[in-house]
Symmetry: C2
DNA sequence: CTGAAAGCGCTTACAG
DNA sequence: CTGAAAGCGCTTACAG
């Protein structure tokens, strides 16, 4: 939020002379309170059907729309929910945003966008957004170890739902909506095992990141059940980016020179990593899936358009967005619980994985 | 917006007992109006520095944050701008959103997200969003021929900026912020010409779509200057999707069987089309760039990670978002003009284009 | 320049 | 059940 000028720029003016409730009431020859009650479908209203019709018709006729600011001021409710995400340019979280937006709209709520880094580091942005009563509730993308303190503070000030963060054993400060990470990589691994792969590697995000821990767990679990293990030399842990996926595969491939002692399949910790892995394979002349099967977590729009198309497992991001909004709109007490979102992860088998070839 | 229930769900309640201006004024032993003026840095205030300091300190001490709803009601200003986009899941427009969000934040404005289709087809969404005085202004993504009527209606009700639509010869209903489409494809074409390509084809969106017309124009212009032309048999016009790019190249390639009479380079009307073209080439065993150079409009995050990495031309989407917001916040009269956004398109030469090979 | 008063438009205790 | 009155919290003509 650098460069914010303290002086206020010119602001667009609202055109005056909108139709007010009082105008509707006058036109319908009833009092304003009664008009309000009729328009809000108050069940206690005993006015005759004719009267009600008169009110509704007057509102329609005049094009009446309640002034939100007045309503908000009176009801202490904004009709807005904040969605504070980390990296808007990642294709991964767009589905979450879409789900949240749709569910909000279905309840006559709108979404206001915030940026995690901005909100957690910029005090002014924080004050305006959080304390300024801009929103009735907040959906914040978790997984920021360093900022847990700040999120706790936010949750105390405002109904908050954390989304897409790994469940913590530590005290939860707000409800959490998360996908079943372990099941996702387990599914991917079982898919590869079923294709005859016995030695399967993993290129993922930071080794100690909670998300990686869960995803790695899924791989280990599935391998263990099949009597295999995840070998250290078959893993690389860098960041969650395509660049890291590329570097990771290059590192592993460096260990494979002049030897057939190597994995026949590799799992990417997320779709960006998977994309980078495909690229590295092409650069290194490793045939996919001929020499190496590749699969990754997250099914984004690009997966099926890559060459080869990428086998993935999809997480219910859209549903998580919906659930987060629903939680905010219906969960009276700030229940502190973790919701592992439905539906479970789903496998999308594509061209990047195939039956293991004898080496 | 299907499935919206008319009954209102439970709404999160705002915690009571916030600090009001009156509290600050009392603590600082001044009147509420004076406190308001000091806090808003009214230059006409002549209070002693001590008094001002007392007010500011009291506000700080009490953690005072003005109630936005009250401010809005009084000032007829929401501090919100609507951003109504067409397809949030397209990677192309995220930059525009980012630019708009950042510029808005820099002016203490926030962005409320809307969906074009929803707003243009759902009357209730329209009423609440547009007439409900939810936002001070609107940025709406254009290029929807069918909905021009509705957008004109919106522009009459609310300061509006249309973004990323092709300039129309017809009456403009609101300021338009657009990229230099013609320059973009011209640049791409000149890049290919410089590589020695003489016969260059185009796979693009609907033939009569205004955006396509401009992009096609750029290709034609550059070819004409070099003494070449765009041949009908070297073009395909479907939709703006990856699937269309794939189908387009398949169609063209069908014409190339058993002949060397074919283009050596192809331009994709947008990056999705380019991605589909790369895929089709791989499926058809057309070497890129060996047999065919491919380049496309829009530089998205994925471009450099494709195999081969895709030559593109970037449009100033981020800047367009910024400009649109700035226009809304500073342009007092609703000037009706078209702004071709700076900076001009920029070429990103990558592995998918190379020197033309003799056929 | 500053303060008392009004008012933005709505909803809801409260009294009838 | 309905209406008159109050009040949400702020800013700004207006009077002094």
């Amino acid at each position: 939020m650098q460069g914010r000028s303290k002086e206020q720029p010119h602001r667009p003016r609202r055109q005056r002379g909108g139709v007010r409730l009082a105008d509707v009431a006058a036109a319908a020859q009833v009092s304003a309170p009664l008009a309000s009650r009729v328009l809000n479908a108050d069940p206690n209203v005993r006015a005759t059907p004719e009267t009600k019709a008169r009110v509704l018709e007057a509102a329609e006729q005049l094009g009446y729309v309640p002034n939100i600011a007045a309503k908000t001021l009176r009801q202490q409710r904004t009709g807005l929910l904040g969605l504070v995400v980390h990296n808007l340019s990642s294709p991964i979280y767009l589905d979450l945003l879409q789900g949240a937006r749709t569910e909000a709209a279905a309840n006559n709520y709108f979404l206001v966008l915030g940026d995690v880094d901005e909100l957690l580091t910029d005090d002014e942005a924080y004050r305006i957004f959080i304390n300024g009563k801009r929103v009735d509730g907040l959906i914040v993308q978790g997984g920021h170890g360093e900022f847990d303190q700040r999120i706790a503070e936010i949750a105390r000030a405002l109904p908050t739902v954390i989304v897409n963060a790994p469940p913590k054993s530590t005290d939860t400060v707000a409800p959490l909506v998360a996908p079943d990470e372990v099941a996702a990589t387990r599914m991917l691994t079982e898919h590869l095992l079923a294709l005859g792969h016995a030695r399967i590697g993993l290129i993922s995000g930071p080794h100690d990141s909670p998300t990686n821990l869960l995803r790695e767990q899924g791989v280990r679990d599935a391998l263990a059940e099949a009597g295999h293990t995840l070998r250290d030399e078959d893993t690389a842990h860098l960041t969650w980016s395509a660049e890291a996926g590329r570097a990771g595969l290059r590192t592993l491939a460096g260990r494979w020179e002049n030897t057939r002692d190597r994995p026949t399949a590799l799992i990417g910790g997320n779709s960006l990593i998977g994309i980078g892995m495909l690229r590295a394979a092409a650069e290194l002349d490793i045939a996919v899936p001929g020499d190496l099967s590749i699969a990754a977590v997250h099914d984004t729009w690009i997966s099926e358009h890559l060459v080869p198309s990428l086998t993935t497992v999809s997480l219910p991001l859209r549903e998580m967005g919906e659930t987060a909004v629903r939680l905010l709109l219906t969960d009276t007490p700030r229940t502190q619980r973790t919701i592992i979102s439905d539906p479970p992860p789903r496998l999308h088998a594509r061209a990047s994985t195939a039956i293991a070839r004898e080496h």
